[in-house]
């Protein structure tokens, strides 16, 4: 009924629209300007609940969705955090416990205080969402109204315990507590049982099922109003944007100088470009873009470009099941053929840098991790067609009429799989194809309609050659797990490493490197095992392993790194200034964090 009412009003209005002339867009040069940016974590959908646990929920990180602290995301200082709802935090020497003190002035947007109880409830919910398990959370102890202690499970060895714990979302207990049963913590305890007792194990499974079920009901929970402990609170939203206004109860409200925020939805990069070029965005998050867009964006003098490193690289990956990619020398030869600079220039001219080394991590991260002694052992695979040709000839390939033939005399055709919408991949795939074709290997890009399908097909070993993102994170475990994790057959099951051979087609091993690799240092390594070990170590202990993995990657070339992404953001100084452009760690966070830290001031109206 309600729908019909709205529907009829709307259609009436729309009818009026034909006769009335369109008025220009209002609001762009409002004196009390709203801060406009793009929210890129999830689409904005009016039907979704105002619930941070819902993946599309209308709750916006750093604006009205708060966590204990904000990670700086810096490789050099993984443990640097900006305070969120936590004022201070400390870790026990063995890393098993974290003590967190909340901001004394922290309040919810209805004026109620944020307490340790809220954190405890949030942690309980984290169990239902599976996130608490992922950082080995064992128990939560409320020390005082504003102080709380978190402990790992008994026997836990997770090194990033506090790091992950600080990034947990905090929700009000008065809103979410009622969704949890009284005995929630005993259920959690039961679910954590990892011993050999069968009865208890069965009980643990039952408890975990109960938690999962709870988790579902929590993600579906739709609170009537948005209750925020962040600098903003949601006022209204439509399918195109979310509109938030300042939360006067925010603990650092005096630091927040922005009165309202508009978060725009986007379905494609070209929309962001449009906004950017039109000067509509006050802050533009990292977006892949062609050079012409960059030029146009910078034509608008008030757009300011900020570049920070990222830990993501694009690479060309091989499935070694397919001939001839199982031959490491062939992969090396291909690495010599591809002119990475030319590829980057076409595919990712603005936010990319050609990869210098194929070592499994980005070059900027590698600078911190890899010693020059190890580096000197690595091959740069610099563009060298003669070398490529000589390698191939040695491997029994023959060139005939300008085309390479496989050792068995068959022509060499290559499909390079890329994903629709990933325009840099498509363009990169095209350029690489051109280079390979010029060299004498018939290659063409094949574009797969969606990433979901791409991943499924990749795991099902349907593609011989395709694009892949590697590294992904300053965390070295995450970075190498992109290669020596599930894609190469290594899975962690109940805290133990399990390896599945490529013949086991359902387990997602599409790379298919041998389990043991002999390095040029004469050392034989198991990269999956090494990667798993990274997960058990603190960063300062990881260097040795990282170097071994880097060398292995360089020598066995499971994928050829093509370019590293750089993080290019824009801020617009027309309406606001005082952006944290110098603070790389802040720039890695959402603008809500900047504002909470006292950055971003509106300019005096003209």
């Amino acid at each position: 009924m309600k729908l019909f009412k709205r529907l009829s009003i709307l259609s009436l209005i729309a009818l009026l629209g034909i006769t009335m002339t369109a008025c220009g867009d209002s609001g762009a040069n409002n004196s009390n300007a709203k801060f406009t940016t793009v929210y890129y974590y999830h689409p904005i959908s009016p039907g979704a609940p105002k619930n941070p646990y819902n993946t599309t929920g209308n709750s916006f990180t750093s604006f009205d969705k708060m966590q204990l602290a904000w990670s700086s995301g810096l490789a050099t200082d993984l443990n640097k955090f900006y305070p969120g709802l936590a004022k201070s935090w400390s870790e026990s020497p063995d890393g098993m416990k974290a003590t967190i003190e909340l901001q004394p002035k922290a309040k919810w947007s209805n004026g109620k205080s944020v307490t340790a109880d809220d954190v405890k409830t949030s942690m309980a919910i984290a169990f239902t969402q599976g996130t608490a398990q992922s950082f080995s959370l064992g128990s939560v102890k409320v020390l005082s109204d504003k102080k709380i202690e978190l402990s790992q499970v008994t026997g836990g060895t997770y090194k990033s315990f506090m790091h992950d714990a600080l990034q947990q979302t905090v929700v009000p207990s008065f809103q979410y507590g009622k969704l949890l049963p009284e005995n929630i913590w005993s259920v959690i305890d039961q679910s954590l049982y990892a011993g050999k007792d069968k009865a208890k194990a069965a009980q643990a499974k039952k408890a975990q099922d109960q938690l999962t079920k709870l988790g579902k009901s929590i993600t579906k929970f739709a609170p009537k109003t948005d209750i925020s402990a962040g600098p903003f609170v949601l006022k209204r939203l439509n399918p195109g944007e979310a509109y938030l206004v300042k939360n006067k109860y925010f603990y650092a409200a005096e630091k927040v100088k922005v009165n309202s925020v508009s978060l725009r939805n986007y379905t494609g990069n070209q929309q962001i470009w449009n906004y950017l070029i039109a000067g509509q965005l006050d802050a533009t998050p990292f977006t892949s873009m062609p050079k012409n867009i960059l030029t146009n964006a910078l034509n608008k003098k008030t757009n300011q470009k900020i570049t920070t490193p990222t830990y993501v690289a694009a690479s060309l990956a091989f499935n070694q099941k397919f001939d001839p990619y199982g031959n490491v020398n062939v992969r090396k030869a291909l690495a010599y053929v591809i002119d990475r600079e030319a590829v980057q220039k076409v595919a990712e001219p603005v936010v990319g840098k050609p990869a210098k080394y194929t070592d499994g991590i980005t070059d900027s991260a590698a600078a911190d991790w890899i010693d020059s002694s190890v580096r000197s052992k690595m091959d740069g695979y610099n563009h060298n067609l003669d070398k490529a040709a000589s390698i191939l000839e040695k491997e029994g390939f023959k060139k005939k009429n300008g085309k390479w033939l496989l050792p068995n005399g068959k022509p060499w055709n290559m499909n390079i799989y890329v994903v629709n919408g990933f325009s840099d991949w498509i363009q990169g795939g095209k350029v690489i194809s051109s280079q390979l074709t010029d060299f004498g290997i018939d290659a063409k890009p094949t574009i797969v309609s969606s990433f979901a399908q791409y991943q499924a097909d990749m795991a099902a070993q349907k593609y011989a050659v395709g694009f892949w993102l590697n590294s992904l994170s300053p965390n070295m475990y995450t970075a190498y797990a992109r290669i020596y994790g599930t894609p190469d057959g290594y899975n962690i099951l109940n805290g133990k490493l399990a390896y599945y051979d490529q013949k086991d087609k359902t387990k997602g091993n599409w790379i298919g490197l041998p389990e043991k690799l002999k390095l040029s240092t004469d050392e034989t390594v198991n990269p999956g095992k090494l990667t798993f070990q990274l997960n058990q170590l603190k960063p300062e202990q990881q260097k040795d392993i990282v170097q071994k993995l880097a060398l292995a990657t360089n020598e066995y070339v499971p994928m050829i790194e093509i370019w590293d992404y750089t993080h290019v953001q824009f801020v617009n100084t027309t309406r606001f200034d005082n952006f944290p452009v110098k603070d790389e760690g802040l720039m890695n966070n959402m603008p809500g964090v900047w504002m909470a830290m006292g950055y971003v001031t509106p300019k005096a109206s003209k």
Binding site: S45, T128, Q453, A456
Partner: protein, 330 residues
């Protein structure tokens, strides 16, 4: 009257049957699709900065239920739900009912296409009449040529051109959201003007791309009627030209009536391109999005609604036509 009712009941019944058949087909068709929502969601979480372990855990929580049921059971549940107007739960919009999502999207498509349809119908029919009556004059030729060309230009080409012209080259119209969110929704000036200015481009695109069809159809219809004996007879009986034009108009528009009501049925599916290009939050966009994320329930729901509209329009057209055209009436 009794016959009429029996016929109505029969048509509605067979319409429902058809919906169920189509629903079953899409159910199985969609299950044939490669790729699955779990990996789609997993990827999205990774992109959001979760570690793979976190993402895996989260996905397990979210989709623990999917592979549980055998397809047959899923099918029975699905059809049973359908009969209760329950299209299931969306996967990409976690935990939200598909019906809810669809019903939030549908009004936008409705506004867009309905306005465009009416505008193009009115203008197209008028231009069709003029081009038929003045078919040997330059005006008529120009109108006809404009009609055939616009009729020929695909919707997405039209949309792209208009979008380029009015949002980039000459940026006088907004792009993106259906209205400016900083304005209070309601029946107030700024909101309405915001709503209108955001709708202008998509509506105009739709109207322009369907205008040609109306023009050409109306033109040929008017020419047919002009050739009918009764028009000559009316002239010879000395009827006023206004009366005769009325005769022509009513007789000529009658065949278009069916087309018009049928287009209303097809409207939900008719704006996929426009919604995509202008990022208008309607059903077409929803369908594309659901395909991207392999959100089966949402996809079949959107597709089904599009189909139901067509079937309903078919039935309604059938019955309305009996009222409009005395020749069918019994």
């Amino acid at each position: 009257m009794k016959n009429f009712l029996i016929r109505l009941v029969w048509r509605v019944f067979s319409g429902i049957l058809m919906v169920l058949v189509i629903a079953s087909l899409t159910f199985f068709l969609i299950r044939l699709m490669p790729g699955d929502p779990v990996s789609a969601q997993y990827n999205q979480l990774i992109m959001q900065g979760m570690t793979p372990v976190q993402a895996e855990n989260q996905v397990k929580v979210m989709y623990g239920f999917i592979p549980d049921e055998p397809v047959g059971e899923q099918f029975v549940n699905y059809i049973w739900g359908l009969l209760h107007f329950d299209f299931g739960q969306s996967i990409s919009y976690e935990g939200i009912g598909v019906s809810h999502i669809i019903l939030t999207a549908a009004p936008w498509t409705l506004i867009l296409v309905f306005t465009g349809l009416i505008a193009s119908f009115l203008v197209g029919v008028l231009a069709g009449v003029i081009s038929a009556i003045k078919r040997s004059s330059p005006t008529g030729t120009v109108l006809t040529v404009s009609g055939s060309l616009l009729h020929g230009v695909p919707q997405f080409v039209m949309g792209l051109l208009l979008a380029y012209l009015f949002t980039t080259l000459w940026p006088i119209l907004p792009f993106g959201a259906p209205y400016d969110s900083s304005i209070d929704p309601g029946f107030n000036g700024p909101f309405i003007s915001s709503l209108i200015s955001h709708a202008v481009l998509p509506v105009v695109t739709y109207a322009l791309s369907s205008y040609g069809g109306w023009l050409l159809t109306m033109k040929s219809s008017v020419i047919t009627v002009l050739g009918d004996d009764f028009i000559l007879a009316s002239e010879i009986r000395g009827l006023k030209s206004s009366t005769i034009i009325g005769y022509i108009a009513r007789n000529a528009i009658l065949p278009l009536f069916t087309l018009f009501t049928l287009s209303i049925g097809f409207m939900f599916g008719g704006s996929v391109f426009i919604e995509n290009i202008f990022d208008y939050p309607g059903l077409g966009n929803l369908l594309l999005k659901s395909i991207d994320t392999r959100d089966y329930p949402l996809m079949s729901g959107a597709f089904l609604l599009i189909t139901i509209a067509v079937i309903a329009a078919n039935i309604i057209t059938d019955f309305l036509y009996t009222f409009v055209d005395p020749r069918i009436r019994r």
